[in-house]
């Protein structure tokens, strides 16, 4: 048998552990904002989940928005206590029992003939696409959606425009399911009340990030923050 030096053994153990850790991580959830929270999820909704579980005594870890092992066991305890399937995953049944609505905001009555679901969806789009922008920039994104609804070139409903295949990258990567903040909700409401800071634009892009030829060929109407708006 080969003689291993003590440091050699330690090295092997370290490597093994690293490899194990890497393999384990491959099993964890992705960074996709989803309508399900599971081990590996991160974000505002996990933060809310942890706060609730902590308040009710299931969770004693730190409220940091990261769904780790402690959160996992806390969710399982909650599920066990409440007669739910004990799988450590916060899906529709568990979130209902928690009193959390995953991926939706507080609603209010709609305006201009649109429903409160439309307001909600529009607010989530704004939050996903433009949460770092000024208030005017956020309203502008919503206004583009409403202009598209009115245009013959696009679907004729808010949901149709937002969910159209390939239209918005935040739909594809799940950011559309994040809970919007109050600013986004206000911006959606102002857009539905008719404020259009773009003057009728149908398209927008970030010139620092876009290389798409067709988009770049559109005539520019106005620039608001990081976005350029076109007809």
């Amino acid at each position: 048998m080969k003689k291993h030096t003590p440091s050699g053994v330690k090295l092997k153990m370290a490597l093994t552990l690293m490899l194990l850790a890497a393999l384990l991580l491959a099993h964890t959830g992705t960074a996709l904002a989803a309508t399900v929270l599971r081990y590996g999820s991160r974000g505002d909704q996990v933060y809310t989940l942890q706060t609730k579980l902590k308040r009710w005594g299931y969770y004693s870890g730190s409220v940091d928005g990261i769904y780790g092992y402690q959160t996992y066991t806390a969710v399982k305890s909650f599920q066990r206590k409440n007669g739910l399937t004990v799988d450590g995953i916060v899906g529709p049944a568990t979130s209902a029992a928690l009193g959390m609505t995953l991926g939706s905001a507080s609603t209010s009555s709609g305006s201009g003939g649109y429903s409160s679901n439309d307001l909600n969806l529009l607010a989530r789009l704004i939050y996903g696409e433009a949460r770092g922008e000024s208030y005017k920039g956020q309203v502008a994104v919503a206004a583009v959606v409403l202009n598209r609804v009115r245009s013959s070139k696009f679907p004729n409903s808010i949901a149709g425009v937002i969910y159209q295949s390939g239209a918005f990258s935040v739909v594809a990567d799940g950011q559309i399911n994040l809970s919007p903040d109050q600013t986004a909700i206000n911006a959606a409401r102002d857009a539905m009340n008719g404020w259009d800071p773009t003057g009728g634009c149908l398209y927008y892009y970030n010139p620092a990030k876009t290389t798409n030829k067709w988009m770049l060929s559109r005539p520019i109407s106005v620039r608001i923050g990081q976005h350029v708006f076109c007809k």
Binding site: K12, L19, L20, S109, N156, A172, R189, G194
Partner: protein, 441 residues
């Protein structure tokens, strides 16, 4: 040593276990992905085929329409065309296809349906197709045959994309479309409807005056903003009304934005955040008081003869709609909205776009029928609570003088418009009372 030997066994076993675990997870994930891929593929294929079917039906209806003799059959066929066009529009919007490639097609299909609708109203009103209508219908039919055949062939050859479309592909024009300039591909439809080209290219009729420069515009903007607020130039805007945009903040740090038109220096919109989030309809006295504040403000900035119509009381503001009054008739299209802060009655918002697009000199004849005769046209199911005169849009390009009847039936309130010349019922709206104000739909 025992520890070493144990480790020498345990480590490989752990690794092996981890590897097997990962491999089986990978296999199950792969199966899951396949399931989703199949479902997505099936969903898109179904959409293409349903579209093909509806396009076929649309083409057939257009064909029959050109040779039908009776008015009633015309109306039924036009109705079918409208319905099939709506289905096609909806299906096209669900396909994983590049917007850059299909925007003209989408526009065309929507307009076919929109046009059929206006023709229905024409025929029901007793008129026949004009020669322009006939030739437009003929070229529409021709184009539909082309599109329908093309799609059928593509489906038969399997030349359809049935996978997820990403954002980049959505905005990319494929080779075959890049050469045609798009505008020659589809016949231009001349008609008057909500999706017609006339609407999309509407000129602002109410925009009067000469070009102003940036400094003059800034002065005008400063006259509008609340006391103590500061603004400065932000950017030029080349939207449907070319403007100078200004931005700044109020004394207590809330954002404020103003847009002044280059022609005439008119305010297009001004927006500032409210100080609170008070919601809920106030009592009648308060509503009246707020209405008066808004009216006075509008008067001070040059909008005379404005009457309050509907209000919403939400998020710290009272949003009141004012319409221009012409000889006792309310002109609903000439609309200016005013936002009044509920805490201190300051004006924190104004939106004059509708007014700037539609306000012109109007000349209307005296009503041909009397108020009593018009009342008789209102459905017997409704009880009339109030009446007046109004000028309402019939199509995007036309308006009519109407009698406006505010009615109720059971728990619901309605507004009925009767054409003051012909006695036709032009429109009915349902009034929705919410906790935050009223809406009509």
């Amino acid at each position: 040593m025992n520890a070493k030997k144990t480790l020498a066994i345990v480590i490989p076993v752990l690794l092996a276990a981890a590897l097997i675990g990962t491999a089986s997870w990978a296999v199950s994930e792969s199966k899951r992905a396949d399931t989703y891929a199949s479902a997505t593929d099936a969903m898109y294929r179904r959409t293409y085929m349903e579209l093909s079917e509806n396009l076929g039906n649309l083409e057939l209806s257009l064909n029959k329409l050109m040779v039908t003799g009776t008015q009633s059959r015309m109306v039924l066929l036009l109705d079918d065309i409208w319905r099939y066009s709506g289905a096609c529009s909806s299906l096209i919007s669900q396909l994983p296809v590049s917007h850059a490639d299909t925007l003209e097609l989408s526009s065309f299909i929507t307009r076919v349906g929109d046009y059929a609708r206006t023709l229905t109203k024409k025929v029901l009103g007793g008129q026949m197709f004009s020669s322009d209508d006939s030739s437009q219908l003929s070229s529409l039919h021709q184009k539909c045959v082309e599109i329908s055949n093309e799609l059928t062939t593509r489906i038969a050859n399997g030349d359809i994309y049935c996978d997820i479309l990403d954002n980049e592909a959505y905005y990319t024009q494929s080779e075959e479309f890049a050469d045609n300039e798009g505008t020659e591909q589809f016949p231009t439809l001349i008609y008057d409807g909500p999706f017609s080209e006339g609407v999309e290219k509407a000129e602002p009729k109410g925009l009067t005056g000469d070009e102003v420069d940036q400094d003059t515009a800034l002065e005008k903007a400063k006259e509008l903003i609340p006391e103590g607020a500061n603004i400065e130039f932000d950017t030029d805007s080349d939207g449907s009304i070319p403007a100078f945009d200004f931005t700044g903040s109020t004394e207590d740090g809330r954002n404020i934005y103003v847009s002044i038109s280059r022609q005439g220096g008119h305010v297009i919109w001004m927006m500032a955040s409210p100080k609170s989030d008070i919601s809920g309809i106030p009592d009648d006295n308060e509503i009246q008081r707020l209405n008066d504040i808004g009216k006075e403000y509008l008067s001070s900035i040059g909008y005379e003869n404005m009457v309050p119509t509907y209000g919403q009381y939400t998020n710290g503001a009272a949003i009141i709609n004012y319409a221009f009054e012409l000889d006792g008739a309310i002109v609903y299209n000439d609309l200016v909205k005013v936002w009044i802060d509920r805490t201190d009655d300051s004006i924190i918002g104004i939106d004059a776009r509708n007014y700037l697009f539609s306000h012109t000199e109007r000349d209307f004849d005296e009503p041909a029928i009397s108020m009593e005769e018009a009342e008789a046209m209102v459905s017997g199911n409704l009880t009339i609570d109030d009446q007046g005169l109004a000028i309402v849009p019939i199509t995007p390009q036309t308006e009519a003088l109407c009698y406006e009847f505010k009615c109720s039936a059971g728990d619901n309130d309605y507004i009925v418009y009767i054409d003051a010349m012909t006695g036709d019922e032009v429109n009915i709206y349902l009034v929705i009372h919410s906790e935050e104000g009223t809406l009509t739909v």
